[in-house]
């Protein structure tokens, strides 16, 4: 019996057709996602420098990083930055979403205004914050001095603690709209009849939130916070434009240290190792969300695991 040709199979075999429809997506994933990731991991096991092919050095880059206090400081900074900024972005974003979900005058305009920080280019807002927190020309220091509340300028970006606070503040300012608007979209899907029924049963506003809003919002919170954590963990532009990792590396994140070592200092292998060291943290963040989303009880009640 004669076998069908490729074209005939494609016309009649749904599996073949499905395969060919998937090819562009697979190619995209392989060339633009898997290949760069694989190349980065491979580079981390070499001593490649800018402009010079490297040799395989096994785990040497990681061994040097293991004893590198600046690397560990960048890990600490990254975790602190991510945890504090993400938590505050969630709290403020949720509060804003609940507020904007209420009936109030100028609701549409207020919702649009919340988006402003999100639409300003990151570097532009970072430069604005750099000026706001400038050691000599800070508008905050200037105002407080003129109000007689301080005698000399606050050393915002020159003091390690202040510098960390400032970059976290800037990140929160920039990230809140994403959380707020996405949660607001989630809130819009909650049926008002649920609240009406609960109110008839005598539920308080807190009980409405605790037993209706929060459970129904949980899946979207999981998605939003996963993205928020990923964006914050891998942040580069804000830090680079505001502090370049200073003072004394107090604001160096893993991403900025990786850039400094790989591109500025030319050590591609070592920079790639720092980048690759971010992968376990990022995978952990994704896993928390992934397994969380699998829990159907979030959506369908406590007993439907």
């Amino acid at each position: 019996m004669r076998e069908d040709g490729a074209w005939t199979q494609l016309k009649h075999n749904r599996n073949w057709l499905g395969f060919w429809f998937m090819v562009p997506a697979m190619a995209f994933l392989i060339f633009f996602l898997a290949y760069p990731l694989g190349l980065g991991i491979w580079l981390s096991f070499t001593d490649t420098r800018i402009g010079r092919v490297g040799h395989f050095v096994a785990t040497e880059n990681y061994e040097w990083l293991w004893d590198d206090s600046i690397f560990w400081l960048s890990v600490f900074n990254t975790l602190l930055y991510t945890f504090v900024a993400s938590a505050l972005k969630f709290a403020i974003g949720l509060y804003l979403a609940l507020l904007l979900n209420e009936n109030m005058p100028f609701k549409a305009m207020l919702r649009a205004m919340v988006l402003i920080p999100f639409i300003v280019p990151t570097v532009l807002s970072a430069l604005a914050f750099w000026w706001i927190f400038d050691s000599q020309f800070s508008i905050i220091s200037w105002s407080l001095r003129h109000l007689g509340l301080i005698d000399q300028n606050i050393n915002f970006l020159g003091d390690t603690t202040w510098a960390r606070i400032c970059v976290i503040f800037a990140n929160i300012w920039r990230g809140v709209p994403f959380v707020a608007i996405t949660l607001l979209a989630g809130l819009q899907t909650v049926s008002p009849s649920l609240y009406e029924a609960a109110t008839l049963d005598g539920a308080t506003r807190w009980q409405n939130f605790r037993f209706i809003t929060y459970p129904l919002l949980t899946p979207i919170i999981a998605v939003v916070m996963t993205f928020s954590v990923l964006f914050t963990f891998t942040d580069f532009q804000l830090i680079w434009a505001m502090t370049r990792g200073g003072p004394v590396n107090a604001t160096h994140l893993m991403a900025t240290l990786s850039y400094q070592r790989a591109i500025i200092a030319g050590q591609l292998g070592e920079g790639a190792a720092i980048s690759s060291a971010m992968i376990p943290f990022l995978l952990a963040a994704i896993m928390v969300s992934w397994f969380g989303l699998q829990r159907r009880k979030w959506q369908q009640g406590e007993n439907n695991d």
Partner: protein
Amino acid sequence: MQDFTRRTLLQGGTALAATGMLTGPALFDFAKAWAQSAPWKAEPGAKLTVMRWKRFVPAEDDAFNAMVAAFKAATGTEMNVFSESFEDVQPKASVAANTGSGLDLAWGLHTLPQLFPTKVLKMNDVADYLGKKYGGWTDAAAKTCKQGNDWLGIPVATNGGYMTYRKSALDKAGFKEFPKDFPGFLEMCKALKANNTPAGFALGHASGDGNSWLHWVLWGHGAYTVDQSDKIIINSPETAKALEYCKSLYDAFIPGTASWNDSSNNKAFLAGELYCTANGISIYVAAKTDASKKELAEDTYHALWPVGPVGKPTELQLALPILAFNFTKYPNAAKAFVAFMLEKENYEKWLDGAQGYLTQTLNGYESAPIWTADPKNAVFSQASKRTLPAAGIGTVGEKAATAIADFIVVDMFANYCTGTKDAKGAMAEAERQLKRIYR
């Protein structure tokens, strides 16, 4: 990206005419004659893409552009020139080196050609031609660009950074002249602070300003990152003394210097908040060209860096080398352009346009008119002769360049001055980082 045409040349000429430079037809005639007799003939249909650092003095840019336009008109070489900020030149050159495309020439900072020695076009013939014609190269300039007997690039100029101060503040503090040694300099900084006219030097990740003054403090005490054989010697009693001295200075500075980048001191000085700093001549030029800052310009003076306990100048000035990539399709055009840039008819006028921001690396230009045009320019003429190469007494190369780019010395001083680490801890961390780089 800028494409130079005859119209550009004439426009550039108009702008330069005001400063009495070789312009328009005269520049074109010189370029044409030069192109006919030059050792390098541009390939037919040559097209060069050139990246340079973004100018700080507009007239320098005008002079450079006029030179580029004249070269294009004389040789028929298509010239695409674009500028990048100081910080972005090296990463973009590195990407070009890594990918083997995108640029023909890159004009950058420090020891740029040493970062990728296998990717650059050897410039031995150009260096030999210019060196013989113009009195030889300064020592640091040659070390910056040479690897063994090969020239990896051409040291076009040095951006000299010197003490920039307000004379009225020094007078008020009781100093008739700028101190010439370290103790005197510290006393001056303390006196300036006491009068609420403070000094301030960048202690943040400032590639130019931070690295230059902190290496000066380090080397001035006889301390170095590595010795002549690249053995790491940063953890030493001399470094400890340098840290102590720097801490005393830091305490006398205007608050906030730990966050300063390369532009911070310019802003503070021009705003009247800062009375002494180390910088290129750009602060003075900016004040001179701003009518509202006439008094500030008149009160602004320059001085050589004080000499440390070692008894000799220990300056780190910003080298500005140009390199051609070996993957360029037009090596002769690239060499011709570099040689053309440094010919007297171009170079002295270019120095003039830079108003002291650029200093010659060829000894023959020591008597260039710019250094006597304004007495306040004079100290900047010393930059190429007084500076040490970026490696100090060690080997100039990719490791030394990495150490500078990674802010090892800056972070060591900043750690100690801000109280983040004690002296032992700061030195130990720098030592560990240097071991990582020099492994």
